[in-house]
């Protein structure tokens, strides 16, 4: 565009041939330097150098130097003299000004007497009456032509100079405009590029002149929502600057660490900021930071209400335990400082756990945002004085509940596996079935709900796992439901055990068992009861099976103290026997005692009565061992 249209701005200077300039200059040189013979290059250069080096105030310096020589009294005198001189000059100037004022006032007093009177001195008022002086325009005598020529030349020169200055200014502003246009178009191109990437570009609400880009989350807490808007300012060269105001420029991120036995054994991956410094990456980085900071803010907010569940907060740290030896630490760190923190990591054993946790809290925050949107678009409740409390998001609670639940389920599973291996080693037929997280049913999702929300919602509901199985006698069964409620009290995990024991119809498990050990004890007890019942049933079957009543008829076992695992066999020969069964997670032991007389009932399991035989079953037995029932049969037959 600049090429197509050019406007001559500088005045055209016609080069006149001036033949008479040379003699003029020769005359000048002669006047200044004398004869041409004395002027050569060296002297001229020397002169120039001298001019250059000379201080413009050197004259004053010399005067000062002279002044230094005189002594102090003389200097004082000189000083006074000088001051008097200055004063005198000032006085004179003042006088002259006053005279001028009087003169002008008197002159004006003819036309505007009232005004002129105010600026007149009293002396003048006394001496001269107002309006006694007048002025007239006098035609000046015609100037000689030469003067006219001079004036013309001077004014022409002035005008040329002005034209030149104006042209310079115009050209300068043209170039300035050009760079401005270039940088402006660069700026707008970049803004458009940002917009085409899908960012929302809008005017800033407070600064109407500036453009801003919105990268934050509409549904975040107001302070973080408002921080999701940054101005797009223009640098001098037109490149885009993301101006976030007072917010720190650093990338920050929430780090999850797992501590096992006071050693850091896992740390979530901290994404390092990308190296390319494009505006897009800077926006992304700002968005991530605002998300991470909100995440941490909400984590701390939630942690504060979870003090009862051993969640503690520090200034920049949230810590919660997941089991006796493990705890999780959440903190907000700068993304680029992770290298220094790495050295404290002692192993990477739980990195996967830490990563899973860090993903979970972010997903849960996104879910909370969606819930906020849902809430916001519902018709609001009527306006009232009560301030609506924004509930804490569910970030830590579902995670803690999940970890707690899965640890309970895992330990229950181990316990059951152990005890069933013990029972199987003893040749008892029983089995159990585990259904961990049976409450999570993805098929049950509400069809109107978006898939992602339904997915997350499943993990915000109470967790439930069930274990069911049969015990030693075929009709009996048990069922354990483990429930963990992340949201509403009672928090923590509850065991709900129900049993079906046909041999002991009145035995019911305690309700609301909260401790892992307690539940295990209850289940062990039931298993033991059932073994007692099975032995009793076995004994009666043996008695029935034996063909006739002979001397070697097996003993019949009666469950005398089933809750202590004790059975008694009374024989007609008076040779009474007692079986004592003890079951634990590790082993099953059956001890047989012989007793004399019926007084054995009253006594505690006989320390004094001689032990006949005993047998112990452990899960991984080396050699083949007789089963429990064989053992019982053997003991029953033993009529010695």
């Amino acid at each position: 565009m600049a090429d197509s249209f050019s406007l001559p701005l500088r005045p055209l200077i016609e080069k006149r041939d001036r033949p008479d300039t040379l003699p003029l200059e020769i005359a000048q040189i002669n006047a200044r330097w004398g004869s041409f013979r004395d002027v050569n290059e060296d002297t001229l250069r020397a002169k120039i150098e001298e001019d250059k080096n000379r201080d413009p105030y050197s004259d004053d310096d010399e005067a000062e130097k002279a002044a230094e020589d005189v002594d102090s009294t003389e200097r004082m005198e000189q000083l006074y003299k000088r001051r008097a001189e200055i004063q005198q000059f000032a006085m004179q100037a003042h006088m002259e000004t006053l005279f001028a004022l009087d003169f002008v006032s008197l002159l004006l007093s003819k036309h505007t007497p009232r005004q002129a009177e105010t600026s007149m001195s009293t002396f003048l008022k006394q001496v001269a009456p107002l309006g006694s002086l007048n002025s007239e325009i006098v035609n000046p005598p015609p100037k000689p032509d030469a003067v006219g020529q001079d004036i013309k030349a001077v004014s022409r020169g002035w005008r040329l100079q002005n034209f030149n200055a104006a042209a310079n200014k115009l050209l300068k502003s043209a170039t300035r405009l050009e760079t401005e246009v270039a940088s402006e178009s660069k700026y707008w191109e970049e803004v458009l590029a940002v917009k085409e990437k899908g960012w929302k570009v809008c005017r800033l609400p407070r600064d109407r002149q500036a453009l801003g880009v919105q990268y934050g989350f509409m549904e975040a807490t107001p302070i973080f929502r408002d921080r999701g808007l940054a101005a797009l300012r223009r640098a001098d060269d037109g490149s885009l600057i993301l101006d976030k105001g007072l917010a720190p420029q650093k990338t920050r991120t929430v780090r999850v660490r797992v501590k096992h036995h006071d050693r850091f054994t896992g740390c979530s991956k901290v994404r390092s900021s990308p190296e390319v410094d494009s505006i897009e990456s800077r926006i992304l980085q700002a968005r991530d930071t605002v998300y991470e900071e909100e995440l941490f803010h909400e984590l701390v907010r939630e942690a504060r209400i979870l003090g009862s569940q051993r969640v503690t907060t520090r200034q920049n740290l949230v810590r919660f335990p997941i089991s006796e030896e493990q705890e999780v630490l959440l903190d907000l760190v700068d993304a680029d400082q992770d290298a220094s923190a790495d050295d404290s990591m002692e192993s990477t054993e739980h990195d996967a756990l830490a990563d899973a946790l860090s993903h979970s809290i972010r997903i849960l925050l996104a879910y909370a945002h969606r819930q906020n949107l849902r809430r916001r678009t519902q018709p609001p409740p009527p306006l009232s004085q009560k301030r609506r409390h924004t509930p804490e998001y569910h970030l830590l609670r579902p995670i803690m509940a999940y970890l707690q639940h899965s640890s309970h389920v895992r330990s229950m599973e181990t316990f059951l596996t152990d005890i069933y291996r013990v029972q199987k080693a003893a040749g008892l037929t029983c089995d159990f079935h585990a259904a961990p997280f049976s409450s999570v049913k993805l098929s049950r999702m509400h069809p109107s709900l978006p898939k992602v929300e339904g997915l997350v919602q499943q993990f915000l509901m109470p967790f439930e796992s069930t274990f069911s199985g049969t015990l030693a006698t075929p009709q009996s069964s048990f069922k354990v439901r483990i429930r963990t409620n992340p949201v509403a009290p009672p928090f923590g995990t509850l065991y709900d055990i129900s049993v079906n024991l046909p041999h002991y119809p009145h035995v019911q498990p305690p309700s609301r068992i909260g401790l892992q050990k307690e539940a295990a004890d209850v289940l062990t007890h039931f298993a033991m009861l059932e073994i007692v019942a099975a032995i009793q049933a076995h004994g009666s079957k043996l008695a029935k099976d034996s063909p006739k009543k002979d001397v070697t008829a097996p003993l019949t076992w009666e469950a005398a103290y089933p809750h202590h695992g004790e059975l008694l066999a009374l024989s007609s020969a008076g040779q009474n026997k007692k079986l004592k069964i003890s079951l634990s997670q590790k082993e099953l032991t059956v001890e047989a005692y012989s007793m004399r007389g019926l007084d054995g009932f009253a006594r505690s399991a006989g320390a004094q009565s001689p032990k006949l035989r005993s047998q112990t079953w452990v899960p991984d037995q080396a050699g083949p061992v007789a089963s429990l029932m064989d053992f019982v049969t053997e003991v029953s037959r033993d009529q010695s």
Partner: protein, 272 residues
């Protein structure tokens, strides 16, 4: 509860544009809403008006006074509002219409593939609106309001029992936005086609096809209603806050529509 309102008229050609603008302002997608609205009129049960018996010196208990006031006070028109889906319009009736009251009861067995309109399952809400307060200095319409959820299904029987008789019905179609405490409802009134037979006997049991409905306003223009409800109308501070919020919205929408107070008497629900 009190309700503070501002209204604006939106010409049909501006409707789409304003939808976009409101969606941007409230940062949400419009929620489309179609409602059946039945108008009921209160009538005085004969013989129920005078509860005063005995000598005039009788001091009336507070309860009795209140009852008297209620029975002898003004009579109002009320609206019964039921949300419907657009798909339910013009759906084939569930069974051959025998005209009986148990149409949909007998039609329960055979379910057509398209969701039929079931009058028996229609939820209802009673909406009572008083005449706007007179002489308020602030430039918003304020009125007493109350809503209550009604039983599903045929609503005329309970309404008749409460002393209300059916007058007429219409359909309201529009979009709802929520901006903080303000509910913005851009809607228009649609009238049923005049078939003439069913007039004024009771609410329709089947809905005509949607395109057969004609807008009350021939040009198809919409009404923009910005409403904010206040729990306690006696609390001046809350009322002031609420009207400040409405004025804020009016300022924000100034370049698009002019929100203003409605004519008080045109919103008069009193039955003469």
């Amino acid at each position: 509860m009190h309700e503070l309102l501002l209204f604006a008229s939106v010409p049909a050609h501006q409707h789409h544009e304003l939808l976009q603008q409101l969606a941007g302002l409230t940062a949400m997608q419009p929620r489309h809403r179609v409602e059946r609205r039945l108008i009921f009129k209160a009538h005085r049960q004969p013989g129920m008006t005078n509860t005063r018996v005995g000598a005039s010196q009788d001091l009336q208990g507070a309860e009795l006074q209140r009852l008297n006031k209620m029975l002898n006070g003004g009579m109002f028109y009320t609206q019964v509002v039921g949300p419907v889906a657009k798909a339910e319009f013009g759906a084939k009736p569930a069974s051959a219409s025998s005209g009986g009251a148990d149409v949909s009861m007998s039609g329960m067995e055979e379910k057509p593939s398209t969701a039929p309109y079931s009058y028996e399952d229609q939820p209802w809400k009673l909406e009572f609106r008083d005449i706007p307060e007179a002489g308020t200095r602030s430039a918003v319409t304020a009125r007493l309001m109350a809503s209550a959820v009604l039983p599903k299904g045929d609503i005329t029987v309970p309404m008749n029992a409460w002393g209300y008789s059916f007058v007429s019905e219409y359909v309201v179609e529009g979009d709802v936005f929520v901006l903080n405490d303000i509910v913005i409802f851009m809607h228009r009134v649609l009238l049923y086609p005049t078939s003439g037979v069913q007039e004024s006997h009771g609410p329709r049991r089947q809905l005509p096809a949607y395109r057969e409905l004609s807008p009350l306003e021939r040009t198809g223009s919409y009404v923009l209603q910005a409403a904010i409800t206040v729990q306690d109308g006696a609390n001046q501070e809350m009322m002031k806050t609420a009207s400040q919020h409405l004025f804020g919205l009016r300022e924000q929408l100034k370049s698009a529509v002019r929100l203003e107070q409605a004519d008080r008497l045109s919103l008069d629900p009193r039955a003469k």
